[in-house]
């Protein structure tokens, strides 16, 4: 019974519309930054290399190369400070965690772009049934 109450408190804080992205996608994360009494949007763009946790504690990691240096930032999925996550390019990956990208540089660190219409092709047979 206790857990049900705790779950309820947590689930109330979930994001109303879930963030639609997958591991391997190139994304732009829009975060709200408060400076003094002003609020502005800061964008962090990079590659989603993993998701972890569940419920309110779930986070995702975005990796980018900034001035030649790899930078990773971890965002809590349900944080109200995250305005939205824009998917720039879908990736096609076979792993849940892309930590192997940390050891790669340049072209080998880019993921194969998902073929055009692949996701639609997948959906079409299902719809036909």
């Amino acid at each position: 019974m206790n857990q049900a109450i705790l779950d309820k408190i947590e689930s109330e804080q979930y994001r109303k519309e879930p963030l639609a992205f997958a591991v391997g996608d190139s994304v732009k994360v829009h975060t709200k930054v408060v400076e003094g009494d002003k609020e502005r949007i800061q964008i962090f763009s990079g590659l989603v290399i993993g998701r972890r946790g569940h419920g309110l504690n779930s986070t995702f990691t975005v990796r980018r190369i900034s001035y030649g240096e790899g930078v990773e930032r971890i965002f809590p999925i349900h944080s109200p400070r995250i305005d939205k996550v824009e998917v720039e390019r879908k990736g096609s990956v076979r792993r849940a965690k892309l930590t192997y990208l940390r050891d790669r540089l340049g072209k080998s660190a880019t993921l194969v772009k998902e073929k055009e219409g692949r996701s639609e092709a997948k959906a079409a047979p299902a719809a036909a049934k």
Binding site: L6, I9, D37, H78
Partner: protein, 247 residues
């Protein structure tokens, strides 16, 4: 002094209006039944007796049940008296978490988790011995406990191994983050003594009193970070003042 009996349900976290994740303890703090009110005239002091956690009558001792029956109250598991209760209540009333408001500071009283017979490192935070440099059999010991022929005895209150935990402890100055009246829940910032499902007492904080300047300052939270522009402006403003001082 306002207070409530409650039950610790567990810990979780909530986002505040700034988007900060606040750790909270969820406490079931109602319904609290007013069993008896004491006044200066009747008992020589002012107090309110509250009962919490309704119980079958057959599960109580006759002594407790007799006391409850005398005041026409409902059988409860826990009873506690709060002196100088600042709300006007009468026997039969029900009080709940709504006696506190969001931002108030409270003290939480509970019985800490029992840890059994523990050594000095865990019990008193001693540092133990070296792990290396030829150390042997001296990893978790306390070291010397006395001096020489004078004083020739071990000082009283010397910290030694022994039973740890399962004592009543108070955590002071915890902030109320949410009050959920319909569910009888209080969300209190931080940890409180005891394990889940333990009974706790939540009372008005003794030190950070409601409305006091210190309490207000604490409730306001940390000052938001200044932007680079503002910082530069503040520097410029501070400079002439510093120059003037030099002169």
């Amino acid at each position: 002094m306002l207070g409530l009996l409650g039950k610790k349900l567990g810990q979780t976290s909530v986002y505040d209006s700034h988007g900060n994740l606040i750790p909270v303890t969820v406490v079931l703090a109602g319904p609290n039944r007013v069993i008896q009110t004491k006044t200066q005239a009747s008992d020589g002091y002012n107090a309110v007796q509250l009962g919490f956690d309704d119980q079958k009558e057959q599960r109580l001792t006759k002594a407790v049940l007799g006391h409850i029956k005398k005041h026409g109250a409902v059988a409860v598991k826990r009873i506690r008296e709060f002196r100088d209760f600042s709300l006007p209540v009468k026997p039969g009333d029900i009080v709940g978490p709504n006696i506190f408001a969001v931002g108030d500071f409270v003290d939480a009283i509970g019985v800490t988790k029992g840890r059994g017979f523990e050594g000095v490192m865990k019990r008193h935070n001693f540092r133990g011995g070296d792990a290396s440099h030829g150390a042997k059999g001296w990893r978790r010991r306390s070291g010397a406990i006395g001096q020489r022929l004078f004083p020739g005895t071990v000082m009283r209150g010397m910290k030694m191994p022994g039973h740890m935990g399962q004592v009543t402890r108070t955590t002071q100055n915890l902030q109320i983050i949410q009050v959920r009246e319909t569910e009888n829940l209080l969300l209190i910032k931080g940890a409180i003594p005891g394990s889940n499902n333990d009974y706790v007492v939540i009372r008005e904080s003794k030190k950070l009193r409601k409305g006091s300047e210190r309490a207000q300052r604490r409730a306001a939270g940390p000052v938001p970070a200044k932007s680079a522009k503002e910082k530069a402006a503040a520097k410029v403003a501070a400079k002439p003042a510093a120059d003037a001082k030099k002169k």
